[in-house]
Structures are given as structure tokens and as C-alpha cells.
Amino acid sequence: MNVVRKSSLIILTVLFLLSLFYSVSYAERLDMALFKKIEANLMCTDGCGMYLKTCENATAQKMRKDIISMLTKGMSENEIYGRMISVYGEEVMAAPPVSSKFNIIAWAGPFVAIIIGFIVIYLCLDRWIFNSRKKGAGADINEKEIEQYEDYLNEEIKKHY
């Protein structure tokens, strides 16, 4: 009986050590850079409004454990995002996912606005320069003289401004 008990104890100890080794080796294999990247792209879901990377509450801790668990199962980055969205909805992503066409408005909107603004400024400048040239069309002045006057003008402006 004692032998059986001793054997069981040894087997259990070996199994425990093996599992410890296994988990440690998994932890080593865990891509921390990827974990941090995923963490930085998600929101904490308890309504605190913080993004996961900066949140330390219990929900955030649980989400981190979930991410580590998914990574250790060998899930890819996109698969993890997909799983998170299926559980918590799009809200879990720290930036609107481009998988939805509507969200492209958020990504493209500012740059489209700036491009439109650029075109408007260009057209206005074109018009204003045309007006200026039209007004000054009678003036008979060459490039060299313009540069001389320009230097003079800039000096004058510098003196007073």
C-alpha cells in the first residue's frame, strides 16, 4: 500500500512539474509584443471609457487573461479581434474597425475634409492671383526690378514688424 501511495505521489509530482514546465514554456512562447499590440487596440468593456492598455480594473484584468489564453491557444491577431467583437460588439475595438463601410467615414473623413479644403484654397488663390494680375496688368516692370523692390519691401517690413 505504501509503495502505491509513494508511486502515486511521485507520479503526481512529476505531472505537476511537467505541467509547470509546460505552462512556463508556453509563457515564454507567448509573443509579448503581439499581446501588447492587441491590448493597445482594445477598450475596457466595463463602461469606464478607458482603453485596455491603460485600464487596471477587474474587467481589464479579465480581458488580458482572455487575450493571453487565446494567444496560447495559437489564435492569430485578427482571430482574437474577431472573437472579442463577437463577444462585446464593435465597441471593444479602440478604433472603429474598417470591416464596416460606415466606419470608413471616421478614417477617411478628416483627410477628405483637408483635401477639399486644399482644393478650395487653391481655387481661391488662383482667383485672387488672377485679380491681382489683372489689376496690375498695366505696370511695366521686369523680374529684376520686382526682386529689388521685394528686397526693399521686406527690409521695410522687418523694420516695423
Binding site: M43, Y51, A95, W107, G109, P110, I121, L125, H160
Partner: protein
């Protein structure tokens, strides 16, 4: 005391209505007596609001816990400085602070009418008084800070520990000085529309107010960032929280305005644009106040117990409709000059700077409201947080900094090819060399960071070059010593060189942002006593947990010996503070700052009575340059603001308006 306080607010509300009516009638009938009566009433409003504010402060100092607001935000063991700043810790007090500043600003403007009947200033005062009516109405009937219990509790419930930080002493105050300051240019712009005086008189009259508001908005945002960095314990300084955004939007618009008015002053152009910018800057300040009080967004800044969001929303719509309606009704008076000499001139660079700044403001606004838009239109909640803002705003910020570098190199009116070649050649060559060196130092990685640093270098070089060129040019003409020339040149052209100093500040802030965002390192680890952690070139030895009694609680701190390159450099003591009025502990981080980087340590938790501790270590490169840049920015703003000769744009005569 509370009765006098409440009565003061009610009386101030009455006086502000009276002042608005008599001013309006006085202006329409050209009756100086009525206008002077209105002016007296405006002073009374200021006096009464100051009185009620002083009484509320006294309530905090005296521990008048029968006043609900004092009870909610103070306690006997609260340090004196925080008893004073508890004034603006809550919704009602912060509204009173807003009104206090607004009433004082209104009185200062009304004071201008002392010697002369000026229709334009009188109308601006009326606009300010109407804003006063709104805030006083809220304080009198919706959010009364003098509301009382029918008993006196022996102690208050205390101040939120997160607000017990020097940053919180100045952050709200400076931000409100800026927010409310925007009201003045707005009032003058509306007055210009009412009186059809749409030349640059209102801009000249309010330039200092605009710069004042801008300086304090800048300071408010910066101090908020510092507070977040040292108090919130997540290692960052800006989280793109909706309320942070709402103070950043008016800053961006006001920055655009401060640049674009120069075009109106010089060329009598962009009148509609400038009026629009001021209107939207003012609306953006209201938007920020709406966000904190609406409960629409989760935020560390929210006043969750507030029903005021609805009123602010209505007021915003009213301001929007009336202002834009007035502007369009005066469109014929807003026609302006339509001549530019060249595509490449300082003026056109200002247009592009406005494009980036207003584009940035639009981006931040879109990011802030996009979750609501998505929920309303798609029925799907989305989040817009740090990753989105970083990706959208980074190129916009670099665009602004690049223009800062280009602008000093371009002449007014028109840049000739020769001018272009002479001015750009050296900065471009040096910047290319700098790019090569920095890209090599970064081992060919982080191209974007290398581009960002190069843009900062280019802008820094061209801005400093402006000072150096000007100094030697002046020294050559006057025969003065170069340093004396520099000082005199700056002092005699404070508006221009103050602006350049601000630019240097912004460049350094950008330098710090790039460094801290791209190259930060983070490690979370558990250390037993005697164990060391390694991050970067640092080694941190955990020596155990210790306790420190403070005035209103207990601080537990980790005793850490910090080594760099195997050499002891400092002892770090990150804390968890248990305040007597709070169930959960609050982090006080430990920061070891150098010009190269910050070592940022947070004590997260501990086990076995401190035999092991969970710690977060971060290396945040170049953060200190953000604070240095912020200081320089403030100095530049104050330089541009300083009154007297040298603060004007050019020697053009100031035209006093009277009718």
C-alpha cells in the same frame, strides 16, 4: 452666509437682465444715460458674483457643511490649498467659476465705455451680458451652489483624492480663463455684425483677448496633461478623452484664428472666415461644457449628477443659429479684398496653416461624436480612442510643424525663385543630413519617427535662424552688440517674435510627443524583497514596503533603489495612498526625469504584507522636452501679450471707433 450667497446670484441675474435691456434701449435711442446705467448694472453683476464666490470660498474654509456643495467636496482633514480649490471640484462650483470670470471680463469691457459712447463696445457688452444671463440663470434656478441641508453635518464627505494634486489647483482655473476668454472676441465679432463695422476694428480690439484665451487654453491643456501623467498612473499624458478633446478643439480653432486675422489686418481679407472661426471657437467652449455635464460620454472629467447638458445643448443651438443667421444677413458687409500676389507667400502659408488646424479640429470633433453618429445611424456602438487619434492626428501635427518651418522662409506678398533658393537651400540640406544621421541611429527602423524628428529639426532651425538673421541685421545697422540687438529686436517686435517663441515651444512639444509615443518601453513585474527588475539601462532593486502617515490618510510606498549602468542613481518611492474618505487606494507614481527619458514607476499591488510587490515600469523618452516646450510656449504667449510699443502688428494707426 448661504442666504447672502444665493441672494447675490439672484440679484446678479436680475441686474444682468436689466443691464441687457437698458444697454439695448440706450444703443437704439442713442441715450448715454441709459448706457451708463447699464454699465453700472454690469459692474453690479461682477460685484455680486465676486461676493457670492468669496462667500462660497469662505464656506469651504469655515467648514460650512450645511451647504450641500461644501459638504460634497470638502472635509475637516483636507489641506488648506485643496479646500480653496474644492470651489471648482464639482459641477455647481465650476459653473460659478465660469460665471465669475465671465462677469469680471464683462465688467472690464464695460469699463471701456467710461470716456466715450461706443456703439460697438456697447453691443459687445450686451452679447457678454446675455451669456451672463444664461450662466446666472443656471446658477440661480438649476445648479445653486448654496443649496443647504436643514442640519449641519460635523464633517464633509471629502474631495476626490484624484483631485488632490497641484495640477488640479491650476488646470481647471487656467482652462476656464481660456474658455471664458473666447467669449470676448466672440462678443466683439457679433457686435461687428450687428453694427456692420466689419473692418478689422473688432480684431484689433480683441487681439489681446484672443491671445490671452489662447495662452490659458494652452496652459489648461498642458497642466491637464501633467496631472494625468503624475496622477492617473498609466504612464501617459493625453488619453483623447472626449472632454480633453473638447478643450483641444477650441485651442486648435483659436490658433487658426490668431494666424488668419493677420491676413485681415494686412490685406482686409478673410472676413467671413475670421468671424466663422470666432463663432465656432466659442461654440467649441460650450461644447466642452456640454460634454462634462451631459453624461453622453464616460470620462474622468464628467459631472455625472448633472441635468445641465440639455440646457447647454439648447444654448449651443441658439448661439449657432443666431450667430450664423446674423453672419449671413451681413454677408454683403463681409465682402473683402480678393487679391493675392502669389501662390507662394507668407499669406498663403497662413491659409494652409488654417487648413491643417481647422482640419485637426474637425478630426477631433469627428472622433468625439462618431460613436454617437454610429449608434444613431447604424444602431451599433463603436469606440474611438487613442489608436484612431494617433493615426489621424500625427500627420496633421507634422503638417502644422512643417508649415511652421516653411513660413519664416517665405516672403510676404510673393516669394521669388531667388528668395526661394537662398532661404531654403541651407535648411533643406541640413535637414537631409539630419535625417540620414537619425535614420542611421535608429538602425533603419522607425521611418516615421525619423521623418517626424527631421520635420522638427527643420522647423526649429528655420525659426532660430529668424532670430539669428534678425539679430545680425540689426547689429550691423545699429552697431549694437549682437545680444543687445537680439533683446531689443524681440522687445520691439513682441508680437512677431513672441509668435516664433511659441513655435519653438510647439516644436519641442512635438519632439517630446514623438519620442514618448514611439520609443516608450513598459514592463509589469512582480518582485520579491531583494529582487531586481531590468528595463532599458535601468536596474531596480525592491527593498520592501514602507508606510507614511499623511494629513488625510496613509501612504504605502515601495522602497526601490534605482541603478543605471550599474551605478546607483536614486531611490524611488511609488505610493498607494489610502485616503480617509475613500475605500479604494490611489496611485502616486514615482518619476525619475532626465533630458533623455523618464523612468516612470507605479506600485500596483503587493502580497504577503509587502514581501512581494507588483510594479509597473515605463521608460518614456523625451517627455521632459514637452514640459520645457510648454514653458517656452507660455513665455512666447506672454511676450506676444505684453502691452505697449512692440505688441502691434505694424505701425498702422489704431483707429478708435466712435459713432
Amino acid at each position: 452666509m448661504e442666504v447672502i450667497g444665493q441672494l447675490s446670484i439672484l440679484l446678479a441675474f436680475g441686474f444682468s437682465i436689466y443691464a441687457t435691456i437698458v444697454y439695448t434701449v440706450g444703443i437704439s435711442r442713442r441715450n448715454a444715460a441709459l448706457i451708463l446705467s447699464g454699465r453700472g448694472a454690469a459692474f453690479s453683476v461682477a460685484f455680486l458674483v465676486v461676493l457670492s464666490s468669496v462667500l462660497l470660498w469662505y464656506g469651504f474654509l469655515d467648514g460650512a457643511y450645511n451647504i450641500k456643495y461644501v459638504y460634497g467636496y470638502s472635509s475637516n482633514d483636507l489641506p488648506l490649498i485643496y479646500k480653496l480649490t474644492s470651489f471648482w471640484a464639482g459641477n455647481k462650483g465650476s459653473l460659478l467659476l465660469w460665471e465669475l470670470l465671465l462677469a469680471v471680463y464683462t465688467a472690464i469691457i464695460a469699463l471701456k465705455l467710461r470716456k466715450i459712447y461706443n456703439k460697438c463696445i456697447a453691443n459687445a457688452t450686451v452679447v457678454l451680458l446675455i451669456i451672463n444671463i444664461f450662466f446666472l440663470g443656471l446658477l440661480a434656478f438649476i445648479a445653486n451652489p448654496f443649496e443647504t441641508y436643514n442640519f449641519t453635518p460635523p464633517d464633509g464627505s471629502g474631495l476626490n483624492p484624484m483631485l488632490q494634486n497641484p495640477g488640479m489647483v491650476f488646470h481647471p482655473l487656467t482652462l476656464y480663463l481660456g474658455y471664458v476668454g473666447v467669449s470676448v472676441p466672440f462678443a466683439f465679432a457679433i457686435s461687428a455684425l450687428i453694427t456692420k463695422r466689419t473692418d478689422d476694428w473688432w480684431i484689433r480690439n480683441t487681439r489681446k483677448w484672443a491671445v490671452w484665451a489662447w495662452v490659458f487654453l494652452s496652459l489648461g491643456n498642458i497642466l491637464g496633461g501633467i496631472w494625468a501623467y503624475v496622477e492617473l498612473g498609466w504612464g501617459g499624458y493625453w488619453a483623447w478623452d472626449p472632454v480633453e478633446n473638447s478643450s483641444f478643439i477650441p485651442w486648435l480653432i483659436l490658433t487658426a484664428y490668431i494666424h488668419s486675422v493677420i491676413i485681415q489686418e494686412r490685406k482686409n481679407m478673410l472676413k467671413i472666415w475670421n468671424v466663422s472661426l470666432v463663432i465656432f471657437a466659442f461654440l467649441a467652449t460650450l461644447f466642452g461644457t456640454f460634454l462634462t455635464r451631459s453624461g453622453v460620454f464616460a470620462s474622468v472629467h464628467s459631472f455625472s449628477d448633472s441635468p445641465l447638458g440639455f440646457y447647454f445643448l439648447m444654448f449651443m443651438f441658439l448661439v449657432l443659429i443666431v450667430s450664423l443667421g446674423l453672419m449671413f444677413s451681413r454677408i454683403g458687409h463681409l465682402t473683402s479684398g480678393k487679391e493675392f500676389e502669389s501662390y507662394v507667400s507668407k499669406e498663403s502659408s497662413f491659409l494652409f496653416n488654417n487648413l491643417f488646424l481647422v482640419g485637426g479640429a474637425f478630426a477631433v470633433f469627428l472622433g468625439t461624436v462618431f460613436p454617437i453618429i454610429s449608434e444613431v445611424l447604424r444602431g451599433v456602438k463603436v469606440s474611438v480612442s487613442v489608436p484612431w487619434y494617433n493615426q489621424i492626428m500625427a500627420p496633421i501635427l507634422l503638417g502644422v510643424v512643417l508649415l511652421m518651418g516653411i513660413c519664416p522662409l517665405i516672403a510676404w506678398h510673393k516669394s521669388s525663385k531667388r528668395n526661394f533658393k537662398v532661404n531654403f537651400l541651407l535648411p533643406i540640406i541640413l535637414s537631409l543630413i539630419f535625417f540620414g544621421v537619425i535614420f542611421y541611429m535608429l538602425k533603419g527602423e522607425n521611418l516615421y519617427a525619423a521623418i517626424g524628428f527631421t520635420i522638427c529639426f527643420f522647423a526649429f532651425f528655420t525659426t532660430v535662424q529668424e532670430f539669428v538673421k534678425g539679430m545680425f541685421a540689426r547689429s550691423k545697422i545699429t552697431g549694437e552688440m549682437p545680444l543687445k540687438s537680439l533683446v531689443l529686436m524681440v522687445m520691439k517686435n513682441r508680437r512677431r517674435y513672441g509668435g516664433y517663441v511659441v513655435h519653438i515651444g510647439i516644436i519641442l512639444i512635438t519632439f517630446g510627443i514623438i519620442g514618448s509615443q514611439v520609443f516608450s518601453q513598459e514592463m509589469k513585474t512582480r518582485l520579491a524583497v531583494g529582487q531586481k527588475a531590468e528595463i532599458g539601462n535601468y536596474e531596480i532593486l525592491y527593498k520592501g514596503l514602507e508606510k507614511n502617515e499623511i494629513q488625510n490618510g496613509t501612504a504605502i510606498y515601495a522602497n526601490l533603489a534605482v541603478f543605471k549602468n550599474n551605478k546607483f542613481i536614486t531611490t524611488a518611492k511609488p505610493e498607494k495612498v489610502f485616503y480617509s474618505n475613500s475605500e479604494r487606494p490611489f496611485s502616486e507614481v514615482s518619476i525619475h526625469s532626465t533630458l533623455k527619458e523618464d523612468l516612470y514607476i507605479v506600485l500596483q499591488s503587493w502580497l504577503d504584507g509587502g514581501r512581494a510587490a507588483d510594479l509597473m515600469f515605463k521608460i518614456n523618452p523625451l517627455v521632459v522636452w514637452m514640459w520645457i516646450g510648454s514653458f517656452i510656449l507660455t513665455v512666447g504667449g506672454l511676450l506676444a501679450l505684453w502691452p505697449g510699443k512692440g505688441s502691434q502688428l505694424n505701425p498702422k494707426m489704431y483707429e478708435e471707433v466712435s459713432s
